[in-house]
Symmetry: C2
Subunit: 439 residues, 2 copies
Amino acid sequence: MSQSTARKPPASTNDRPEDRPHVLTLPLEEQQADREPHSYERWLIAKLMRMAGSPPLRFQLWNNEFIDPEEGHARFTLKLTDPKALFTLVTNPNLAFGDLYSAGRLQVDGDLSELMETLYRSIHNARQKWPKWLEALWRNHNPRSTGVSEARENIHHHYDLGNEFYRLWLDHAEMQYTCAYYETPDLTLEQAQLAKLEHVCRKLRLKPGMTVVEAGCGWGGLARYMARNYGVKVHSYNISKEQLTYAREEARRQQLDHLIEYVEDDYRNISGQYDAFVSIGMLEHVGKDNYLALSELISRSLKPDGLALLHSIGRNRPMLMNAWIEKRIFPGAYPPSISEFMGICEHSDFSVLDVENLRLHYAQTLTHWMERFRSNMDKVTEMYDGHFARAWEMYLAGSIAAFRAGSLQLFQVVFTHGGNNQLPQNRQDIYSSPAAPEA
Amino acid sequence: MSQSTARKPPASTNDRPEDRPHVLTLPLEEQQADREPHSYERWLIAKLMRMAGSPPLRFQLWNNEFIDPEEGHARFTLKLTDPKALFTLVTNPNLAFGDLYSAGRLQVDGDLSELMETLYRSIHNARQKWPKWLEALWRNHNPRSTGVSEARENIHHHYDLGNEFYRLWLDHAEMQYTCAYYETPDLTLEQAQLAKLEHVCRKLRLKPGMTVVEAGCGWGGLARYMARNYGVKVHSYNISKEQLTYAREEARRQQLDHLIEYVEDDYRNISGQYDAFVSIGMLEHVGKDNYLALSELISRSLKPDGLALLHSIGRNRPMLMNAWIEKRIFPGAYPPSISEFMGICEHSDFSVLDVENLRLHYAQTLTHWMERFRSNMDKVTEMYDGHFARAWEMYLAGSIAAFRAGSLQLFQVVFTHGGNNQLPQNRQDIYSSPAAPEA
């Protein structure tokens, strides 16, 4: 078990005042929360609602006045605590919505993830009619760099928040911070996470004695599962110190350390040739600029008859990451569209064997995480502060919504060298018995 | 059963002398087959072999002299019957190899598909070192247009050769002229073709009473299978008259005509909205210029919770069709790369649910076709002529080779509207029981 303790989230790389979320908690004298709304402010809200496709919600202003353009059809109420919150929201809603919510200056009456799903669907349709200037004004920014040193900072920002923190709401089986596999809808989070690990092993057709290299291993659960259940040798790369400390101790505790080497290094420094290459939930952090290098890395790391599996959040079409998520939660994140994903395979003449989309499985995974997170809100507030707790609540709720609305996808892609004819006959073997353990 | 009889293959659209394959059967006096080879001709062959990556083959010239740059490692002998054959081969090997073979001016000692696979693999590696001028000289040409009227000619050229001809070597179950599904390696062609139809139906999660639209239906076997085994209503589009005649008669014979409407029309004229959209082996003929229109067509033809399946030959990376295949066998053909394929889905915000690559299944299908074709070579020669019979032998052998060497892939892609949340829980149901009927 890791001895690490929780800590404040590290500062972002580009530390301008507007990049610091806590600045958004305005001192009382600046809030002007005691004045009447101007008529142009009411007009702005009506305009904002129309641009968002007239979703079924109403606003409650700082003076408790309601603005309800949909006249009684509202299923949600958004309360703005001060006039500046409205201005921030209108000029950059993608970033401001999460920031204001975290700061407590935008409050939601109604289910947060349902509200977000409603907004995603409504905006998805409405934006096709946006004028160019609005498209430009509300555009998400490009993700920051994911070069070797920046990647270290990006990963530290999120994954080194403290193992104690993640233990509060991730599964207790193998600390999986990626999409689970709900083979049947009634699985527990623990069962579904173990089913995911099993599903991945089956897709890779692991056999005892094989060698596997893993790019980005989180708390090392997949490596341990593979070693324990398939008798393979695993090299797992990660640049998060917190996670590696946990991974190594857990491997020793399970007496698997002779089969697993957890390497504290960037995936770009992987060396050797393996029977399988696997990466679960790292591609989102790799960045488009590094796709071709990743492709070449996999090509030289995979034996001629080896299988590779990439598991990643993705998109139905190329699209920038939501500004707030990229800035506050996942610096540098960019989920590839399915054709960008396939471009990684094409670049090194790989042959794509199998693509599976587990989109709704991630919505369910996140729902399970959210339940546990919410029941620990007090602890999280104590460990960090209210702003942080609300930010993570928004991140989880928004992610549930994005997967449910189809704004995010979850792709598992299996591929091999173009000339490899040692292929599985078909996919029947993956489904020969349940992947999940009994409850 | 169709009353149609076999006929000569129709002339190609652009009917220049060099486009007419029969011109390649030179009159004797032009062959110069009685003269000694020049030393530059021997040099040309050595050069050609090096550029092709030094595959294990030797040449036998018109004077029976052997040229064997690999000195005794040859597994195949290519005999050239005249000096002009050599010149044609060197200047445009992609087109000339098939033409000369068909004309009997290039003869092969050794297994034809093994030779072709050896050449594909060897050239695939060697071409990375080709100088630019050679890349340009040996480049495959762009496929001809696949506009509405050209598509009619393209399809007529191949699919209207006569049902009698195809009956000689396709399966006797449902006349499937597309990749079969060898659930186990020992299936017969008939079993594997029925397994393919079943596999497709399962992937579409068909239920009685559903409506299906099919773009390009061949001899109508999938529509009959769906109607017979799943009780769905099918609209199937095709522009090959020969095939439709057979399809309709067979549906009447099986008393399925109340469930199936075979429509003689271009897929671009599909109207209505359906629970499922399916197309098996048509995308290869659609042409890149029409991908976005196809995407939009599927988008408007598919109900909000409908599933679509496209089954097509594809590539690991964008690449022009082999010149000879495009010119002599499949006018207008272009198999999409996997990312081009995904681009069709991205364009209309579809969500890709499942991709399966059945590459080696097509090699096995073609091997079964080849066995039957070869045992009917005499009949084919009688129906058409020796040139035609050898051309088809080369086409089948080259296709086996291309799938075995990884130069061609076979993708089955299932997708749905981006906002559809009525998704199958996973793919387990596809594998719940054998797809193939018992022998």
